[in-house]
């Protein structure tokens, strides 16, 4: 993988790695990064596989979107950048990725900020039906399970992503230029394949790669996360998300949860950058 990333000075500051979700990109943290850089942190914001300037090095590599593969990418990025340990923050896919890294490689995570809490899942759990209202929130996952859905996302990916932004953050009045800045990342040649595979894998409709089987088996027991953690939730998150009381006990280290008020939706770091940055600063002091 050739990973594209933004990096804020100072280069010798304590490293913070911030991970975006779908359908978002590094600009989720565009207003968080300077706040942390001003406090002396070295802030690294990578494009996940399938987004922005991140590229597979071989056309023959499986376009695998399974969560543990994305997490392994970030650990490999840390190795490449010679970062032994970092504060890791995430939102949406990025929060799940941060959770997985903290669970499987706790020695690489000094502390974590996770929007919407504990998001580690597995294929067995993903096959269990939910009550109808809960299933309704995952409408796009069912759409992506069909050939029509893949073709639809390929054809209308920007319209699709904008609809998700509107549904997930119903009180966020983002400008077209703000959306367009991020939507350019969806032109990545592997974007559709990675997104479709991710959601199909979650439902057990697509296989993963054997090299990640050990990771998945360790994640399947929903392991506790031991690193210091602050979880965040917006008061207007329109995307499906667990209630904080359902996951608080998954964090066995020093832990706090914060509800961010003011009409804050799913893309919390971009909608409330000061609150997210403050959580990073605070969890570093835990």
């Amino acid at each position: 993988m050739n990973v594209g990333y933004a990096e804020s000075d100072p280069p010798d500051g304590p490293p913070v790695i911030l991970l975006h979700g779908w359908p978002y990109d590094i600009h989720t943290y565009v207003d968080v990064a300077p706040l942390l850089a001003a406090k002396g942190y070295r802030v690294i914001v990578p494009f996940l596989r399938g987004y922005g300037t991140t590229r597979f090095l071989s056309k023959d590599t499986i376009r695998n979107g399974q969560p543990s593969a994305i997490a392994a990418d970030i650990v490999a990025l840390m190795d490449a950048l010679k970062i032994k340990k970092a504060i890791i923050g995430g939102c949406d896919w990025g929060a799940r990725t941060a959770n997985i890294i903290a669970a499987l490689w706790p020695e690489r995570v000094k502390a974590m900020v996770s929007v919407s809490g504990y998001l580690i899942g597995n294929q067995k759990a993903g096959k269990v039906p939910l009550p109808p209202k809960a299933e309704l929130q995952w409408w796009y996952q069912f759409y992506f399970a069909t050939d029509r859905g893949r073709e639809g996302y390929e054809k209308y990916r920007r319209d699709f992503a904008k609809l998700i932004w509107q549904l997930a953050s119903p009180k966020w009045n983002f400008e077209d230029a703000t959306f367009d800045r991020t939507a350019a990342s969806f032109d990545n040649p592997d974007h559709v394949s990675i997104v479709i595979h991710n959601y199909r894998w979650r439902l057990g409709l697509a296989d993963g790669e054997a090299k990640y089987d050990d990771f998945e088996s360790r994640l399947a027991i929903a392991p506790a996360i031991t690193v210091p953690t602050i979880t965040l939730e917006g008061d207007s998150n329109g995307a499906p998300h667990p209630e904080p009381e359902t996951y608080a006990k998954k964090f066995s280290g020093k832990y706090a949860h914060r509800l961010i008020k003011g009409g804050i939706g799913h893309n919390l770091p971009q909608e409330a950058p000061k609150d997210f940055a403050q959580a990073v600063i605070d969890v570093d002091r835990f």
Binding site: N2, G4, A6, V30, A72, A80, L81, K84, R108
Partner: protein, 52 residues
């Protein structure tokens, strides 16, 4: 577009500069970093080879 990138140049330099990195967890990582694009909001974007 603010994130346009010269991929050919990047790949050439990326392959030429490829070097072994620390592998503390058994992940087979290789690394080569160059500044390869500009972003109007983040400033220069970087690229690095990082393989599992």
């Amino acid at each position: 577009m603010s994130e346009e990138i010269d991929h050919d140049r990047r790949r050439l330099l990326g392959v030429a500069a490829m070097a072994a990195a620390i592998v503390p967890l058994g992940l087979n990582s290789t690394a080569s970093a160059i500044t390869s694009a500009t972003n109007t909001t983040f400033g220069p974007l970087k690229q690095i080879d990082a393989a599992f």
